[in-house]
């Protein structure tokens, strides 16, 4: 078997993969991974050539091992779910995730609802806008000291900080989204006998969807950041807490691990929740400009 035959087999395999996954998707994935590949290579080369000592930058293997070392004492799935202190890794991940989900479940719907109301009604927006600008100016983390005084260290403080960030960002984005919806859509529902509620559900909510989705992006992004900061100072568990306490103990590999897990979770949320939502709504409705 010569080199030609090997090339043929490779080409056939490549075409099969491209057919199955789609050429554009593979291209996008490969291009998107270039910076990561460069970064990881540089990281590994540092370990090989020791440009910077391992106290500053640990080996990739150490970071990988840290994940399992942290989870070592864990006895069974149940203990992990109960956020038992023996299961350090899963407890940190699950408490951060739990806080994010809880804050999103409360903050996003309320932010959207009040944003839509404020977008529809001048009086409501006049009441809520100044307080919103006030709340936004004191960026999420500036509340941490006060929140610790009020709620102590733990869940309430982190939740409070996150809600403060998520709610107001969502509020402003939804409000602006509703204001940008053409009046003729509202009129076309009213003249068919639709009620105010029909207008909200059939016009404002879908019409403001481009802003609502970018609002979700922003509030989840800033929400995560606020969460990590809140956990560092006012938390007793979570990835932020883990990063901070590990740094104090000079466990640099755990710091790296925490940062990497945070970014993986965030990338996954964007890819598996927000992107599909975007595709299913505003792309399908032709509300965004799409390159052809």
């Amino acid at each position: 078997m010569g080199a030609g035959a090997t090339m043929n087999v490779l080409a056939t395999a490549s075409i099969a993969v491209q057919r199955r996954l789609g050429r554009q998707r593979i291209r996008k994935f490969l291009l998107g991974s270039i910076p990561f590949i460069v970064m990881i290579s540089a990281w590994h080369m540092n370990t090989v050539f020791e440009w910077l000592p391992p106290v500053f930058i640990p080996a990739i293997g150490e970071v990988w091992d840290a994940f399992f070392i942290l989870q070592e004492d864990c006895v069974g799935f149940g203990a992990a779910l109960m956020l038992d202190n023996s299961c350090l890794m899963s407890t940190h991940i699950l408490s951060s995730l739990g806080r994010v989900i809880l804050a999103a479940v409360i903050g996003l719907p309320f932010g959207i609802a009040f944003g839509i109301l404020a977008g529809m009604s001048r009086p409501i927006s006049k009441i809520l806008e100044p307080i919103g600008i006030f709340a936004n100016s004191i960026s999420g983390i500036a509340w941490i000291p006060l929140a610790i005084v009020w709620f102590g260290v733990g869940w309430m403080t982190t939740l409070f900080i996150m809600l403060n960030t998520i709610f107001w960002l969502m509020f402003f984005n939804s409000m602006l989204g509703v204001r940008g919806v053409a009046r003729v859509y509202e009129q076309s529902v009213l003249t068919m006998g639709g009620s105010r509620l029909d207008v909200i559900l059939h016009v404002y909510l879908p019409g403001a969807m481009p802003s609502i989705i970018s609002g979700m992006r922003m509030s989840m992004g800033f929400g995560w950041r606020a969460l990590i900061a809140a956990e560092m100072i006012g938390g007793d568990s979570g990835l932020g807490f883990m990063i901070f306490s590990s740094a104090e103990e000079f466990k640099i590999e755990e710091v790296f691990l925490g940062v990497i897990i945070i970014s993986i979770i965030f990338l996954a949320t964007d890819h598996y929740l927000l992107k599909p939502l975007e595709k299913w709504t505003i792309h399908r409705w032709g509300l965004v400009w799409k390159p052809t």
Partner: protein, 263 residues
Amino acid sequence: MPAKLVVEGLTHHYPDEYTGESVHALEKINLEVQEGELVTVVGPSGCGKSTLLNILAGLLPYREGVASVDGIQISGPGSDRGVVFQEHAILPWRSVAKNIGHGLELKGMVKEEREARVQDFVELVGLSGFEDKYPHELSGGMKQRCAVARTLCADPVIMLMDEPFAAVDAQTRITLQEELNRIAIATKKTIMFITHAVDEAAFLGDRCFVFSARPGRLKAIVDINIARERRIWADMNADDEFVRARDEILRLVREEVSVAVEE
């Protein structure tokens, strides 16, 4: 037989959006539209014809005069008056079928019943095969057909159309006009059609209301006695009645335009 739409002594002023000055849009309008009739309204721009339509649609509150449909005074938007707007007012987030069935959905009609009716109207406006498409996938003409079907499907007492074909290209406009004529025959719907195009007004109307320049007054009513079945654009230039009606409407409108210019 009592008229479907009655307007008596309707006068309207509104404050200008920028200067705040009071604009006298309509002055003592009296008109009636009979059941099954298609009336067209023409006039120079700014003659208040869109104001009239917004008042009839219930989107604009009025104080002086009376406007009623089926004897019920207009005091807000309602499903008895369907509107086809100037822009493509079909909802971008609803498919063609869901746009057309929207009025029935708002009335609370169950899905199975709704779907059968929607299908009738999809066929009536020639959108078969496009039921699941979204508005951004349609051409301008198809969007406006969808808008007409959306309004008709809710079965209003009267359909108000606000320059619905103004934004489409000339070829499509001719087709849409002939289709509206066909729909008027098929549904016997009472229609008020506002336009600034004189030939459109003469082609579509059983009667044409000509409005004067601001303040809008009902200046003249031109009767157009052409059987609906005979209204095909290819024959119109040889149709004496059409030519007469069109020329008369044109003359009436041009008087107003020159008045507006002199002012």
